[in-house]
Subunit: 555 residues, 2 copies
């Protein structure tokens, strides 16, 4: 596998998608940059927080993803002459030349990025990233950072939710490329579904880019491209151990089909099976004797697909090969999986083929959290789920609303007010901590001012709701974890945090999700996880709020 981890060398590669350049931003970032530059303000030190206000999918948690792509962008953030020429033609001709010289010199060496670890579980209002640096440069990063984080975190969360419903033991396969929102909607989905706990993807490009395991069988078209077994020219198949060769595998499969048909336990379950399907299965088995998987619903699952599959699988078994299993792509998946399992078990018993009853059953066809849940309730025999549209497009909620807000400039804290309290920003350069209780679960996240003493293990800490006077609680943490780590040190002299390989990030995600209290995780009416500010920060927020709010007159 070619998983080009970014730690292969100290120099970071650019973003996975070559379209992610400094121009992948909103025009107003350039107009603002010009206005800052013109006012001599462009180098003022600004602090921005990137956060979201509400967990997606009606849940109470979110998986943070997309960080590595952001860091790769800033590590390579430079305007080409061609890009500068385009910015010039996009801005009013009155803009001064000096600005383009300024753009020419921009890089991110004086930007600092502190962020949650990719793959960690995060909550509303707490910054996922804190970005510090010259205001004009950091503004240019706003749009690409939001773009790279929003969808990545959304789809990773969606994948984690699907995993939660499917259960740990099931194989989850992402099959969404064809329905994704564009090419890297597809590639991104594959990456972040894997991060969120899926096991494999059908997307070959994503497999190559990120080392994600690949899965695939065949389509309905493959089945209907055959007419009958007569058209199969090369019918021979060597046994697995190479000791013998079956000269007419077609005949072997047909013989088995007859045996099944007239067997004691299966007699009467089916009549004539579809011959183009049988031909397709035989051809596929001849091509992949070690990996024979069949899509069994092109004509009729129980009267054609399953018998045809079993006939071919038994033929393979005679030659020492073990068939891989079936895929169901339509109909009542719970019922069909149960019936298929019965059929396999009957074959195991009747023909004494040990293990045949355990044949793997994959189900696909518009699966989502609800249908997985319904399948669980009905009872089913599915081993693997292939999920496409719903997981990759995040069909039930197609966007996460991360925002990027100025919280400090020139050491002055800034607040963004709104008539909607949930939209008021939390000012100041902050530190963020997760406080853990006795059982090892996270109890609360707390934000403090940068210079406050951090919360200590065993100490009684007042945690206040940022906006609600009455909501507060004392917490005595058994463990304290600082949430934001330095991932791009700029001139700070700090060490840049590791960007581990995707597999490790995936494992971190799985571990963190397992450490969540189950009431935060449940699909319906989960308990909100608490997010708070320190008493000092609370007071300061409300002091600033009063200061900034316009004073009206009651008439």
């Amino acid at each position: 596998m070619e998983a080009n981890g970014p730690n292969a060398s100290k120099v970071l590669d650019g973003p996975t998608n070559p379209m992610v350049t400094p121009l992948l931003t909103d025009l107003y970032q350039f107009t603002m940059a010009y206005a800052y530059w013109k006012a001599g303000k462009h180098n003022e030190q600004a602090v921005f927080d990137l956060y979201f206000r509400k967990n997606p999918f009606g849940g109470e948690y979110t998986v943070f993803a997309g960080l590595e792509e952001c860091i790769r962008l800033i590590a390579n953030f430079r305007f080409t002459e061609d890009e500068i020429a385009f910015v010039r033609q996009s801005l009013p001709s009155s803009c001064e030349d000096g600005f383009y010289d300024y753009l020419r010199g921009i890089n991110c060496s004086d930007v600092e990025v502190y962020a949650a670890s990719e793959g960690s579980v995060v909550f509303p209002k707490v910054p996922l990233m804190r970005v510090e640096g010259p205001v004009a440069v950091v503004q240019l990063l706003e749009t690409p950072f939001l773009n790279l984080i929003n969808y990545a975190s959304l789809v990773a969360t969606n994948a984690a939710r699907h995993r939660f419903v499917a259960g740990k033991s099931k194989l989850l396969l992402e099959f969404g490329l064809r329905r994704a929102q564009g090419p890297d909607g597809g590639v991104g989905a594959s990456k972040y579904c894997y991060l969120g706990g899926f096991d494999a993807t059908s997307n070959v490009a994503a497999g190559k880019l990120f080392g994600i395991p690949l899965r695939g069988t065949h389509s309905h078209a493959f089945v209907s491209s055959f007419m009958s077994p007569d058209e199969i020219v090369d019918k021979s198949l060597r046994s697995k151990d190479g000791s013998t060769t079956c000269e007419d595998f077609v005949n072997l499969a047909q013989t088995w089909l007859n045996k099944i048909k007239w067997s004691t336990s299966l007699h009467g379950l089916f009549g004539e099976t579809n011959q183009s399907e049988l031909a397709a299965f035989i051809s596929y088995a001849l091509a992949f004797p070690n990996d024979f998987l069949a899509l069994v619903d092109t004509y009729d699952v129980m009267r054609s697909g399953i018998p045809n599959f079993c006939a071919v699988a038994l033929g393979l078994n005679d030659l020492g090969y073990k068939a891989g299993g079936i895929r169901l792509d339509s109909g009542d998946l719970a019922y069909l999986s149960l019936e298929s399992r019965k059929f396999f078990l009957a074959i195991e018993k009747e023909f004494e083929v040990s293990g045949f009853g355990k044949m793997s059953i994959t189900a696909s066809n518009d699966l989502n959290e609800e249908t997985l849940d319904a399948l669980n309730k009905q009872g089913h025999e599915v081993d693997a789920f292939g999920i496409g549209t719903n997981v990759v497009t995040c069909y039930s909620q197609a966007a996460l609303g991360c925002v990027f807000k100025l919280v400090e400039i020139n050491n002055q804290p800034r607040i963004k007010l709104s008539e909607d309290v949930s939209k008021v920003s939390i000012p100041c350069k902050k530190r963020c901590f997760r406080l853990f209780g006795k059982e090892g679960y996270g109890l609360v996240d707390i934000m403090t001012g940068e210079n406050e003493p951090p919360p200590k293990v065993g100490e009684r800490i007042l945690c206040r709701h940022p906006f609600s006077e009455s909501k507060r609680a004392y917490v005595v943490p058994q463990r304290v974890e600082e949430l934001l780590k330095c991932y791009w040190p700029g001139n700070s002299g700090l060490k840049r945090g590791d960007l581990p390989p995707l597999k490790e990030i995936r494992q971190r995600c799985i571990n963190q999700l397992e450490q969540m209290r189950s009431d935060h995780m449940r699909r319906l009416n989960p308990t909100p996880y608490k997010v708070s500010v320190s008493a000092k920060l609370y007071d300061f927020i409300h002091f600033l709020w009063l200061n900034e709010a316009p004073v009206g007159e009651l008439e």
Copy 2:
């Protein structure tokens, strides 16, 4: 503008996103290719139809988009050695070497693509594309074609629907990059929103790639990055004609603010305005005196934003500049736009500034079809809408379900059955026509077998519903248009259809939508447009259906 039209030379560029390669496909396309190759079937001539089954967004029409990217892919369809090596490591090691030599030789010179024109209005079941060629090669194209068409058509349709509700006279701006599903979710959205009738985008990269007009102002952060007008160092502004220089534009704006405050018609409407906002507006005006646009809702629209904006705009007016307008990004947009308009008109009257009342008002903040419709019903004074999340992620329906079905192989028609009638495919290599009535509207689309005589103007043609016995009608067309044109001729000797510049495609889309009968277009309960098959094709479908369906026994 650098709109690199594909007709710049005869050689087509590759897809816009360099990630679109022959590996951007599902693994099963390779396993099937291997199985076809192993069976000696890989060069069998296959015909696939790409179509969807249901219009999106509860509507009765769809805009076809994404074709050019597909053609660019096949024009450059070649496996690199690196890609072949990856396919080899992804397939079972038992696969024979000859297959990789075969992959090495693949290109699309023997593939033919017939498609609807990009930007045209299309309907369910009628093929958007007919792809013919060696079955193994055409299968490899399935996933990338679906990926490139599904989202493109979905977002173009979404844009067209937003345009329909907003009305022709409004400016529609796409602001969605930050919330899009990944980087080219953003770039694709910008392209296909423009195609579907939007006027501009905020996305600079899309502006560069496709020549889409760019728009942008500034953000809330820009406003809150300022403290007070005192921090403005260079306060001078030359008049537009260059004849004079105002040495203290800050003072000029402040003077105007006072005049407004104490003016007859506006007295009492506001008290102290926010000084950091005033500073930000003045700075922005100093940077863009010809293009002064202001986001007026950071603190309080009517008590701060609008008065501050007007003060700066009147200062600019003194120097011969015309302000561009305001943007509202929160609150009751209908009400605030009406109040802002009143304020502008009062200024026009009181200070005799001709045209000031016509100041442009842009509204943004989670707009979608419903909110646009609600604004229309309430009455508003918005001139331009900035739409993000809802248009780019297609929030109300995040995926279009285009499928790619085998309809013929080796001159044998193929049908895909399903217990769900809407999922039965229409077999045979087909031609598709739109029949127009006297008023110039499309009446019905009809599919015929390839060798049937095409429908003729003035002739009575029986149009049958493909699956419903009783639904049929005679139509006498006044005009007949063949829907599928050759866009990739392969070895057919046909001329390759033009791939016009995006602007022309956009115009085609706008024209075609205007030619739709209004009852198909309305937002709620639109009338379905009729889609039919010829009598001959109808009979053949049902003959094949009976032939393929399994014969069961009633117990």
